[in-house]
Symmetry: C2
Subunit: 340 residues, 2 copies
DNA sequence: GTTAGCACTCTCGCATGGAGAGTGCTAATC
DNA sequence: GATTAGCACTCTCCATGCGAGAGTGCTAAC
């Protein structure tokens, strides 16, 4: 069993790049002519055989060229691809757009997903950051009409939750503001779990508000983050799905069902870095012909989301990783800068 | 040019129903055997020829059965389909889910889109209601840190907008609350355009807040409503897109680009009813092999959204119209009931 | 007006047969 | 031993042809 010599690595690299670009199996002649490898096609074929024995290449059928295997892509990503950053001008363009946008976590997630999807022509998923532990910053009660008030809760990270609350009896806005002030003294700065311990109120209406508040918080932390999905059309435009309709359908089903946990298993995320999951490494069977490039962002346990790219295994890993890395770090920086 | 006799209408109806179900051209034998029409296949063929001359049927090729033309579907929808309501048990199931959900416009839109898409296996678009004229109900300032406050604006329809506002100088929450109280006196109950006239403040910080407020309102009313899209997978699963990859791609592009105005031209919406746009009646060329079933909901000019269903022209119009009608009326009822 | 019979047309599936691409093997060469 | 030229081999792809099947339109009889 021969090792992966330098020349073989070079050939593998050429095959990956060429195949990513053309989506057609790569033959020895192309490698020789187009890339000027100083060896005859016959020699290159020898090397390709060796690479196939290593499990890094595959042949769709006897007389087609070679195609990288999942293992081949893995080798490419690990050892050949390098760690080039996004070109500075692209960085600047992206950065500019973020500073133009409204300083909103959800807005940023939208923007990031759109940029990522358009840049790669693939499926992008961005989850806005969620804190594990919701901490109340402030609370307000607004009278809508005689029977109905709106409870507005501002969380520490400037997120706003709201809930309609039926009232028994008429309350003027002034009464409600007073009640809100009293409640704020008790709840502001507290987390959901701290609140649960200290729910004792003299007034029935205040008691009700407190219960509503804990209800909202409980519901909110149970709710899955509304993941932004972009680039369905681009994904469907990939040549692999032009014929093979079923696998495209499977993927869309996965996305439609909001089963994003299966697409991006949060457990597998390496902190502070970009993870690449290639083909059959993927736990979800629908994605075993796909690769996922994903990076978490946000601080450790508290406010975290992720930026993910989903495409066929034949994707531009260099560009994908660079873009995902830049976006995740930019999102983190924006959060820091604005909400820090 | 023969008229559309009763028997011909019956045959057209059978062809529509059969084709909608099987997606295969319908022949005279099928009509005779499966539907027990009291006429021989030869006679039925005669009638089908007449219907083809009327432009209501088409032949994919010489020796296939017939398929309804766009005009044929139009005739079916207009004269043959009837106006059956959704079965009461389905109504009850849907209703139940709405009352379970949080009383939020956006939440309802999500729910409606999901239900519609799943019920028909097609693409559903639901726009949450947007009021033309934004009216401020209440405003609040929350101190996040020394340099940053959060401006929270509650609109009359209980929608909440927010914006980060940088501060020059330190303000305690008490100061901000006081400022908010002063501002509320000036802005609450006002629309964006009314505010624009009356922006005069003594204090520089208050002036800034007022400007921020009008900015938010301007931005918000310029922003397109975030339309809920569901059922991509179901749509792609339709037999028409199994082969014809391009048109599926075109449709997804349209949806991805947020070009929902082209999918659902708001101008064409008939108030208080369900509109059906069939095939080439559609202004967007990407949708000329699709039909759109759409109903607006909400009160006249003020708070309005729509419920829309997009599918191939071969869709179950009866079920589609009934579901869209029920959902739009239910959404309107929910709005009335909760926000009245 | 309706119907049976029949020839006709068109699609679909399948087999056939190059043409082309790319390989693996062998034997000669550096 | 590594490299290379030469060549037979294999497999896909595409165009062609053919038969089966489906459904029609036409004609003539009822």
């Amino acid at each position: 069993m021969a090792a992966v010599t330098d020349r073989r690595a070079g050939i593998l690299q050429i095959i990956v790049r060429e195949y990513v670009e053309t989506a057609a199996p790569v033959g020895s002649r192309t490698i020789h002519d187009k890339y000027g490898v100083p060896a005859s096609p016959a020699t290159i074929r020898h090397e390709m055989q060796a690479l196939e024995e290593e499990g890094l290449l595959e042949q769709p059928h006897t007389s087609a060229g070679r195609v990288p295997s999942d293992l081949g892509y893995r080798y490419f990503v690990e050892s050949l691809m390098g760690q080039a950053d996004l070109p500075v001008d692209e960085q600047a363009t992206i950065r500019h757009q973020f500073f133009q946008a409204a300083p909103e976590l959800d807005e940023w997630a939208d923007l990031a997903a759109g940029l990522l999807a358009r840049s790669l022509g693939l499926l992008a998923l961005v989850s806005p950051p969620r804190s594990r532990e919701l901490r109340v910053k402030h609370l307000e009660l607004i009278s809508l009409n005689d029977l109905l008030a709106l409870l507005v809760v501002v969380l520490r990270e400037a997120r706003v939750l709201k809930q309609l609350v039926p009232l028994d009896g008429a309350f003027a806005q002034a009464d409600l503001s007073l009640m809100a002030a009293r409640l704020n003294e008790r709840v502001s700065g507290r987390t959901a779990s701290e609140l649960r311990l200290a729910t004792d109120a003299e007034d029935a209406n205040e008691q009700r508000m407190l219960e509503t508040l804990t209800g909202i918080l409980r519901e909110e932390s149970a709710r899955e983050a509304a993941v932004r999905v972009e680039g369905v059309a681009g994904m469907l435009g990939q040549p692999e799905y032009r014929e093979d309709h079923t696998s495209a359908l499977d993927i869309m089903n996965l996305v439609d069902q909001r089963a994003t946990e299966r697409v991006v298993p949060m457990g597998s995320l390496e902190r502070g870095g970009v993870s690449v999951v290639i083909g059959d490494e993927n736990p979800a069977f629908e994605l075993q012909h796909c690769s996922v490039v994903v990076a978490p962002y946000g601080d450790q346990a508290d406010m975290s989301g992720y930026v993910a790219l989903v495409g066929p295994t034949r994707m531009h890993y260099g560009r994908g990783v660079a873009t995902v890395r830049y976006l995740s770090s930019l999102l983190e920086e924006m959060m820091e800068r604005v909400y820090g």
